[in-house]
């Protein structure tokens, strides 16, 4: 009971919502006469009922495509200057106007979105991988290893998060040369994995006691196969939900870092540093403040709704047909 609560507490401490992770039987036995559906199909069915999540997913896909194909859509390059057309308002030539160096704001917001989304996704994925490994090992082997790993996790959770990010950025700058984009992703992933680790550990602790894991061992499966082939797929639901919410948190954190002047450095635009650049023109060209801000809001909102929908879909407590 404690563990479960701990997971929820910690999850809530580091991300927007308390995650109602499931660590019990991940299956709802379908009555035999029902049409036989795979777990995935059942999840998809539940997901489809979540209108907001569907809408969010569509918006995100659209946004993703826009940012990916922005070189084809826009006639401008994100770094292309036009010093004669600076700080223009929105218009037909420049949909969202231009910035202080006469660069097309629409192109920059989209390109910035590409970087921000890239950061969000990479961070969520690598955090998921780190957390999955740490939590998996801790949950599977238990004992002193579990204790040691969980104390490390606690330690990472305990240190003020942004402080470590700021100091960590410096640390990397000093000891590991590389682009600020890679640094930002590295640093963020290094401080986003703890909720994943806790969730995976919780799921593994309960799965470990499941007979199908014993059955696998009795069949002669190695630890690695049991962990990755048998247990991990059963932990995927909570991991995916958490990773989704992690994308949102990573986008917000990256933009905050950039806003403070850390994070991804110009000329690579991100939503955060676009906003930071816009501050000096808030009266002259308010659009420069509004558009990147709204873009962050929209993207993060959609990711959060998507995460919510996924939680509903992947949470096996929820039976198909019941209205909850």
């Amino acid at each position: 009971m404690r563990d479960q609560d701990q997971i929820e507490r910690v999850a809530a401490a580091t991300q927007p919502l308390p995650v109602e992770t499931d660590v019990s039987a991940p299956e709802v036995p379908a009555a035999i006469h029902e049409r036989v559906l795979s777990t995935r199909q059942l999840a998809w069915r539940r997901f489809k009922r979540h209108k907001l999540a569907i809408a969010s997913l569509s918006i995100l896909i659209l946004l993703g495509l826009l940012t990916l194909f922005i070189p084809l859509i826009s006639q401008y390059n994100f770094s292309q200057l036009n010093l004669f057309r600076r700080l223009l308002g929105p218009g037909s030539a420049h949909w969202l106007g231009t910035d202080n160096l006469g660069r097309d704001e629409f192109t920059r917001v989209m390109y910035g979105g590409r970087i921000s989304l890239l950061v969000g996704l990479s961070v969520a994925i690598s955090a998921g991988v780190i957390g999955g490994i740490v939590g998996g090992i801790a949950g599977y082997y238990g004992g002193w290893l579990d204790n040691a790993l969980m104390r490390v996790t606690d330690l990472f959770l305990a240190i003020p998060f942004l402080v470590v990010l700021l100091i960590g950025a410096r640390f990397l700058d000093k000891f590991l040369p590389g682009s600020s984009l890679v640094h930002t992703i590295l640093i963020l992933s290094l401080f986003f994995w703890m909720p994943d680790a806790r969730i995976v550990r919780g799921v593994f602790l309960s799965l470990k006691e499941k007979e199908f894991v014993e059955a696998a061992r009795a069949s002669g499966a190695k630890d690695s196969r049991i962990i990755f082939y048998h247990m991990l797929p059963n932990a995927m639901g909570p991991i995916i939900v958490n990773a989704t919410l992690g994308v949102a948190a990573a986008i917000l954190t990256e933009s905050a870092l950039s806003f403070l002047g850390f994070g991804v450095q110009p000329p690579t635009p991100t939503w955060g540093n676009l906003l930071n650049d816009a501050r000096g023109f808030i009266k002259v060209a308010p659009g420069l403040t509004w558009f990147p801000g709204l873009a962050i809001l929209l993207a993060v909102l959609c990711v959060n709704f998507l995460g919510d929908g996924l939680r509903d879909a992947l949470d096996p407590h929820q039976k198909l047909g019941s209205k909850e």
């Binding site: 929820e8 402080v163 700021l166 933009s255 501050r279 801000g293 809001l297």
Partner: protein
């Protein structure tokens, strides 16, 4: 229970010590202690060597750590290399300011968040529930520095201009009116409103969602059904039984959050020029002032550890299911 608490307290000491080693190692290896001095062209080579010796930077890392720790514990926190101001009084006042801001924001958010959460849970799927859920999502997804920026420009520039005021209704920077001395409640409040608002948006969103979830869980539990079946008044069922139990997880969450406040208001403080811990840290970081960063980190980490401990103990005290021998 007392033994548990005492054991946890004793246990916190090695954790604090280990943290201090880590803090020292990380800060020492990341920052050049004299990096700040090097900015100043007037500092001579001889001075640097002298200061190096004074600070004991020519000794072994273990000796350095030990000297630093013993001094730190005795209250000798050193002085900033750049301004030569002693660090202790500045961190103290910064800490007080941050606790004031964080405390008020947390208290306010708790009040609003719990209210919204409980009401949403009681009226699940009502328009209020849907509305508050949507607003909570909006709050969670809002980049808070952006929100702060919008608030600043609205209250600071536009509203002041439209209403032909000489000073804004809510100030956009600082702690008190420049030049004022002493404490003026109204002035202080006018400075606190905007940063508090920015902080609260997210906390309210988290707490209300959290409260709603745990309240729903309690409402669907067997013992509550039993309480109802016993014929208790609905209001009593809600307040005495449901809310009390639903508040348990939130309480520990709040304890953890409060611990993080000491080091965690960096963005809000930076934007609102609020002279708290976050601002102190960012200033020190920008200048690379090792002498300021080290004690700051220790204070922040100390708070986190202590409040995490408090959360654990609170949890043990509040949750009757858990009994530690």
């Amino acid at each position: 229970m007392y033994r548990y608490i005492i054991r946890r307290l004793i246990f916190a000491i090695p954790i604090l010590l280990i943290s201090s080693v880590l803090v020292f190692a990380v800060v020492r290896s990341t920052f050049d202690p004299l990096g700040g001095a090097a900015i100043n062209p007037r500092v001579s080579k001889a001075d640097i060597i002298r200061v190096k010796h004074e600070l004991g930077l020519d000794k072994s890392p273990v000796q350095q750590y030990w000297t630093w720790l013993t001094k730190f514990l005795r209250g000798n926190w050193g002085s900033s290399l750049l301004s030569d101001r002693p660090v202790y009084p500045d961190i103290q006042s910064a800490l007080v300011n941050t606790i004031v801001l964080g405390g008020i924001a947390t208290a306010f958010s708790l009040l609003v968040g719990v209210g919204i959460g409980v009401y949403s849970a009681l009226r699940q799927y009502s328009w209020f529930d849907h509305f508050s859920t949507s607003v909570a999502f909006l709050g969670l997804s809002m980049p808070n520095f952006w929100f702060a920026l919008l608030l600043q420009i609205f209250f600071g520039v536009y509203l002041t201009k439209w209403l032909h005021l000489t000073s804004p209704i809510f100030y956009t920077a600082g702690l008190s009116q420049p030049g004022s001395s002493g404490f003026n409640l109204i002035d202080r409040a006018r400075h606190l409103v905007l940063p508090m608002l920015v902080l609260s948006v997210q906390i309210i969103a988290v707490y209300s969602r959290y409260m709603r979830a745990s309240m729903l869980e309690v409402l669907h539990s067997d013992y509550l059904r039993t309480a109802r079946a016993k014929g208790l008044k609905e209001s009593r069922v809600i307040v005495r039984h449901a809310m009390r139990n639903a508040l348990i997880p939130l309480t520990t969450q709040v304890a953890i959050d409060v611990g993080a406040i000491a080091g965690g208001l960096i963005i809000t403080e930076a934007i609102f020029e609020y002279p708290g811990m976050g601002r102190y840290f960012v200033d020190a970081l920008f200048r690379g002032d090792y002498q300021q960063i080290l004690p700051w980190m220790m204070v922040a980490v100390f708070f986190v550890i202590i409040f995490n401990l408090a959360a654990d103990i609170l949890y043990a005290v509040l949750d009757p299911r858990i009994r530690y021998a």
